[in-house]
C-alpha cells in the first residue's frame, strides 16, 4: 500500500479492494488470502463501524444502531421494511446463523450457465466446515421451539432442524443484537480475522460514494465511541485499485453502481430483486414458557414451500420489535404483551418472484430507493401462511393467536377450526403499510447471466464489459434463493474469489 495526501483528500493504492464485509465481502477476502500472501495489497472497506464483543449490550434500543435505518429501512411504497446490518460482518453481525444450502430445484430455475450443483455442493461442504455449521441438538431446543415441533407433529407435517453456524453457543438468545460471546460464526468471527491475519487491511467507517475505472471515491467517518478505530483518519479519500469487488449487499451494491453511472451500459442494474417478504406471528400459550432465552431458531417446516411458496421457521424477538410484528394496539396489545413470557412465535418466509416494477433506483436526492409492491399472490400466500401458523399454534396448545390479516385480529382457541380461520384470515384485511411485513433477505439487482441487456455479471460475478469489476453478494441472485441466503452468498463469493485468484495468477 502506498499513501499520500493531495489537498484535503487522502490517496491510497491497492491491488484489490473489496467494498463490504458481510457474507459476501468476508468470504471473498478469505478466498484472496493466497494473493495477500504473494504480496498483493488488498483492503476491505466497510461502511459501518467495527464492533468489539463488549459493545453488544443485549439491549434492543441500544443495539438498533447495528442496523441500517434502525432495522426498518422502508421500501418506497412503505409496504415492507428491510433489516440489514451495518458494521464489520454485515448482516452476519445480527442474523441468527441459519445456514441452508441453496435447494437444487432453485438452482435449476436460476439457469446460470456454468454454475452447477456440483460446484456449489463442493463449496457448501467446505464453507460449512469453516464456519462450523451444525444441526442443533435437543439441548438447544427451548420451549418455543419444542412447541413448534409438537404443533407440526400433531398436524402430521414435516418438521426439520435448521442448520446453524455456531460454536460453543451459550444460548442466551440475543443473536439478533450481536453475539457478545462470539459463538455465532459469521464473517466477523471467521473470515475477516483470518483475512486480517494474512495482511489484508480492514477499513471500517468507510462510506464508498462512487466508483469509476479502477478508482474509488470514499469518505471516512469518525469511529463511534466504543468501536474499534480503523487505520486511517477521517476525511475524503481516493483509492486506486486494479480490481474492485462490490459486496455491499443488495440493495447497496446495485445502488452504488447506479450512483456511479453504470446503468448507461448495463440497463439491468437494480432489476430482478426479491425480498423474501416475512411476517412474524404470535400465539399465546396458557402458561409461561422459555421463549426469549435459549437459541431462537431450531426448527422449520417446508410443508407449503411447493404449493404456496413459503417456509415457516421458529423465531423469537425482543419486546419492542414484537410490538411492531404484532400489528395491533390498544387493549389487544396490552393483553398480549402482558404475557410476553407465554408467547409462542413463528416466522413466515415467502419466496417471492421477480416482477418488472420491483427494482432499485435512486431518488431525486440520489439516495438508494427500493421500489417494491406486494403482489396479490404474495398477500394471498402470506394469508395462507397465517392460517397454517394459527393451526400450528393451536395444535401446540395455544389458547389464542394474533393474526394481522384476521378480522378481528385476535382469534381464540374455541374458534380455531379450519373453516373459521379461512373465513377470518383473508387478503381483504391486508392494509399496505399497516399490516406488518418485513424483509431480512434482499436479493438481486446485479443478476448473473449471459446477456448484457438482461443481466449485470457473468457466472463468476464479473461485471459485463468491466473485467476489473466484480460483484460478490446477494445482488447476484437472478431469482429468490427460497431459503435464508447466507450460505449461498458465501458459496458465490468463494467462486468470485477463485476467479480473481486464477485471473491474477495467469496475468
Amino acid at each position: 500500500m502506498s499513501g499520500q495526501t493531495e489537498g484535503f483528500r487522502m490517496k491510497k493504492q491497492y491491488d484489490i479492494v473489496i467494498v463490504g464485509s458481510g457474507a459476501g465481502g468476508g468470504t471473498v477476502a478469505r478466498a484472496l488470502i493466497p494473493l495477500a500472501k504473494k504480496g498483493l495489497k488488498i483492503a476491505i472497506l466497510e461502511q459501518g463501524p467495527h464492533y468489539p464483543h463488549s459493545y453488544f449490550t443485549q439491549r434492543e434500543i441500544e443495539m438498533m444502531r447495528l442496523f441500517r435505518y434502525n432495522g426498518a429501512w422502508p421500501v418506497q411504497s412503505g409496504e415492507i421494511t428491510i433489516a440489514a446490518g451495518q458494521g464489520v460482518g454485515g448482516s452476519t453481525l445480527m442474523y441468527t446463523g441459519v445456514s441452508f444450502r441453496l435447494p437444487r430445484i432453485v438452482l435449476d430455475q436460476w439457469q446460470i450457465p456454468g454454475l452447477t450443483f456440483d460446484d456449489l455442493t463442493t463449496r457448501f461442504e467446505q464453507i460449512e466446515q469453516e464456519i462450523h455449521v451444525i444441526l442443533p441438538s435437543d439441548k438447544m431446543v427451548n420451549d418455543n421451539n419444542h412447541l413448534f415441533q409438537k404443533g407440526c407433529q400433531n398436524l402430521g407435517w414435516p418438521v426439520k432442524r435448521i442448520p446453524l453456524n455456531i460454536k460453543q453457543c451459550e444460548q442466551v438468545g440475543f443473536c439478533n443484537l450481536g453475539c457478545d460471546s462470539g459463538s455465532k460464526q459469521g464473517t466477523l468471527e471467521v473470515q475477516i480475522p483470518e483475512a486480517v491475519s494474512a495482511g489484508i487491511d480492514l477499513i471500517p467507517n468507510c462510506d464508498v460514494c462512487r466508483i469509476s475505472e479502477k478508482k474509488i471515491n470514499a469518505t471516512l467517518k469518525k469511529a463511534p465511541q466504543g468501536t474499534i478505530e480503523g487505520p486511517w483518519k477521517p476525511g475524503e479519500i481516493i483509492i486506486d485499485a486494479s480490481i474492485i469487488v462490490l459486496a455491499a449487499g443488495s440493495p447497496c451494491t446495485p445502488g452504488l453502481l447506479l450512483k456511479s453511472g453504470f446503468q448507461e451500459t448495463l440497463p439491468w442494474i437494480g432489476r430482478d430483486i426479491t425480498l423474501h417478504p416475512a411476517m412474524t406471528l404470535y400465539g399465546v400459550y396458557p402458561k409461561p414458557i422459555i421463549n426469549y432465552r435459549g437459541f431462537p431458531k431450531t426448527f422449520y417446516t417446508d410443508k407449503f414451500t411447493d404449493s404456496h411458496h413459503y417456509y415457516i421457521e421458529t423465531a423469537f424477538y425482543y419486546p419492542f420489535v414484537a410490538t411492531r410484528h404484532l400489528g395491533i394496539w390498544g387493549k389487544g396489545l396490552s393483553e398480549t404483551m402482558s404475557v410476553y413470557n407465554q408467547l409462542m412465535t413463528v416466522l413466515v418466509l415467502n419466496h417471492d418472484t421477480i416482477m418488472p416494477q420491483n427494482r432499485i433506483t435512486l431518488n431525486r436526492k440520489g439516495e438508494i430507493q427500493v421500489n417494491y409492491q406486494l403482489s396479490k399472490e404474495i398477500i394471498s400466500s402470506l394469508c395462507h401462511a397465517q392460517i397454517q401458523s394459527a393451526r400450528i399454534f393451536f395444535a401446540a396448545g395455544c389458547e389464542r393467536v394474533i393474526m394481522p390479516c384476521a378480522s378481528p385480529q385476535v382469534i381464540y382457541r374455541n374458534k380455531g377450526d379450519l373453516k373459521t380461520l379461512e373465513k377470518r384470515i383473508h387478503p381483504k384485511n391486508f392494509i399496505p403499510i399497516t399490516t406488518p411485513v418485513s424483509s431480512a433477505h434482499p436479493q438481486g439487482g446485479c443478476a448473473m447471466g449471459e446477456q448484457t441487456h438482461r443481466s449485470v455479471t457473468n457466472a463468476w460475478g464479473q461485471v459485463h464489459g468491466y473485467p476489473w469489476l466484480y460483484v460478490a453478494d446477494a445482488s447476484l441472485f437472478p431469482k429468490s434463493a427460497h431459503v435464508n441466503p447466507y450460505l449461498t452468498i458465501m458459496a458465490l463469493a468463494d467462486r468470485v474469489g477463485e476467479h480473481i485468484v486464477n485471473t491474477v495468477i495467469n496475468l
Binding site: 463488549s54 459493545y55 453488544f56 449490550t57 443485549q58 439491549r59 434492543e60 434500543i61 441500544e62 444502531r65 426498518a72 411504497s77 412503505g78 442466551v172 440475543f174 457478545d180 463511534p224 465511541q225 466504543g226 409461561p288 426469549y292 425482543y318 419486546p319 419492542f320 414484537a322 410490538t323 411492531r324 394496539w329 390498544g330 387493549k331 396489545l333 396490552s334 393483553e335 404483551m337 402482558s338 404475557v339 410476553y340 413470557n341 392494509i431 399496505p432 403499510i433 399497516t434
Partner: protein
C-alpha cells in the same frame, strides 16, 4: 435530569394521550402515557435525521389539529373514545401518509414504553444477562432505567 428538546406543548400532550390509547393499562401493566415514555421517545427523536424528524413532528401536529373533526377539540382534549376513533381512521386511511405517520407514532410510543426496565418486569421479561455492560449511549440507558427525571 433530562429536558425534552422536541416533545413539548401540544406535541407532548398529543403523545401522552395517544400513548394511553396505543398501550392502555392492563392488569399490572401501566398505561404508556407518562413522562418516562416521553423521555425515551424524545431522545430517540433527537437522533433522527433532520428531515425525518421534521416529518414526524409535523405529523404529531396534524394529529393534534385533526382532533377537531373527531371530537370537536384538540386531540388531547377529546374523549378517549374519540381519540381511538381518530387513530383507527388514520391507521386505515386510504391516504398513505396517514398510515405511514400512524405507524411511526405507534412505533415510537412502543419504543418509549417497551424498552424501559420497569415495563420489562411487568411483562415478565428479564432483559440482558450482562446487565452492566457499558452503554454506547449512557443517556438512553439511564432513561430506560428511569434514572433520569424527565422534564418537558
Amino acid at each position: 435530569m433530562y429536558r425534552c428538546q422536541y416533545l413539548k406543548g401540544h406535541r407532548l400532550n398529543t403523545i401522552l394521550a395517544a400513548a394511553d390509547c396505543i398501550v392502555p393499562a392492563h392488569n399490572y401493566l401501566e398505561n404508556a402515557g407518562t413522562l418516562k415514555t416521553i423521555g425515551v421517545m424524545d431522545h430517540a427523536i433527537a437522533q433522527m435525521p433532520a428531515s425525518l424528524r421534521l416529518q414526524f413532528l409535523t405529523f404529531i401536529s396534524i394529529v393534534h389539529v385533526l382532533g377537531i373533526f373527531f371530537g370537536g377539540r384538540w386531540f388531547f382534549n377529546n374523549l378517549q373514545s374519540d381519540q381511538i376513533r381518530q387513530l383507527q381512521w388514520m391507521e386505515r386511511s386510504s391516504i398513505r401518509a396517514f398510515r405511514m405517520g400512524f405507524l411511526g407514532l405507534k412505533s415510537y410510543i412502543c419504543m418509549g414504553y417497551f424498552t424501559r426496565e420497569t415495563t420489562w418486569k411487568k411483562i415478565h421479561y428479564w432483559g440482558p444477562l450482562k446487565y452492566d455492560q457499558p452503554p454506547p449511549d449512557p443517556i438512553i440507558r439511564q432513561l430506560c432505567q428511569d434514572k433520569l427525571k424527565v422534564f418537558a
